[in-house]
């Protein structure tokens, strides 16, 4: 199935897109989404650990299911606020 993933900050820059479509297996999880992402955009492979994935606006672990209707996003390390 195809899922749509929002890209922010560094992720938006390296993909050149605000949203990307990724092909994942049926009954996919966040881990499958990462595999698909790394295949399509190898630049993510080296720093996947620092990129969080959110599902429906919550940070999501590797086993979290993802569905075509979910709101998915790639969250690079954040730097809000001001020191």
């Amino acid at each position: 199935m195809k899922v749509r993933v929002k890209c922010f900050a560094w992720a938006k820059e390296v993909t050149g897109e605000e949203e990307i479509d990724l092909e994942v297996p049926e009954s996919a999880t966040v881990a499958d989404l990462r595999d698909s992402l790394a295949e399509r955009f190898p630049v993510f492979s080296g720093r996947m650990e620092s990129i969080a994935v959110s599902v429906n606006q919550e940070f999501a672990g590797e086993g979290t299911p993802v569905d075509a209707g979910d709101e998915l996003a790639l969250i690079p390390p954040i730097s809000g606020g001001c020191a």
């Binding site: 922010f8 966040v30 606006q57 730097s79 809000g80």
Partner: protein, 153 residues
């Protein structure tokens, strides 16, 4: 309660006025401003980017944690996005309670926690080039910071 991502200037008076109530004797504010230097390099301006819907949701989560920890329910926080100049207010926080101690604690917790879990990103433009400031990688399993980090890419 105000939990807001905005592309307009942060109005501290609006934040503090929203907490005006006769039972509140302590009002504490934090103003985060754009600084002209970072890691020893000059900074000319910044861009703040956000995932606005999730950011406001996570700000509300921070507010919930503050109520749980300090019993403070009178909070206002606003974070600006877009291109900001040196001296502009990037983030404003106001916390009020009956007495000062809880207001100070709530305000401090709010800014520290925003930097950990609210999806907002800062891009620095300086003499040395352009860099995303990557303060805090979130561990998705725990939804908490992975570890203390301060790397630039």
């Amino acid at each position: 309660m105000i939990c807001r991502i905005t592309d307009s200037p942060v109005d501290m008076d609006e934040l503090t006025d929203s907490l005006d109530s006769p039972e509140l004797g302590g009002l504490c504010t934090f103003v985060g401003k754009v600084r002209n230097h970072s890691a020893g390099q000059g900074v000319t301006h910044l861009e703040y980017h956000a995932y606005p819907e999730m950011a406001e949701k996570k700000m509300r989560q921070v507010a919930g944690e503050i109520e749980e920890r300090f019993g403070v329910t009178h909070l206002a926080m606003a974070h600006r996005v877009g291109t900001l100049a040196i001296g502009d207010i990037a983030v404003g926080i106001a916390a009020a309670s009956a007495h000062r101690d809880a207001a100070f604690k709530a305000c401090r917790y709010a800014i520290d926690r925003i930097k950990q879990i609210v999806p907002i990103w800062k891009k620095e433009f300086g003499e040395d080039g352009v860099a995303w400031v990557e303060g805090c990688a979130v561990d998705a399993e725990t939804a908490e910071p992975q570890k203390a980090q301060n790397q630039r890419v």
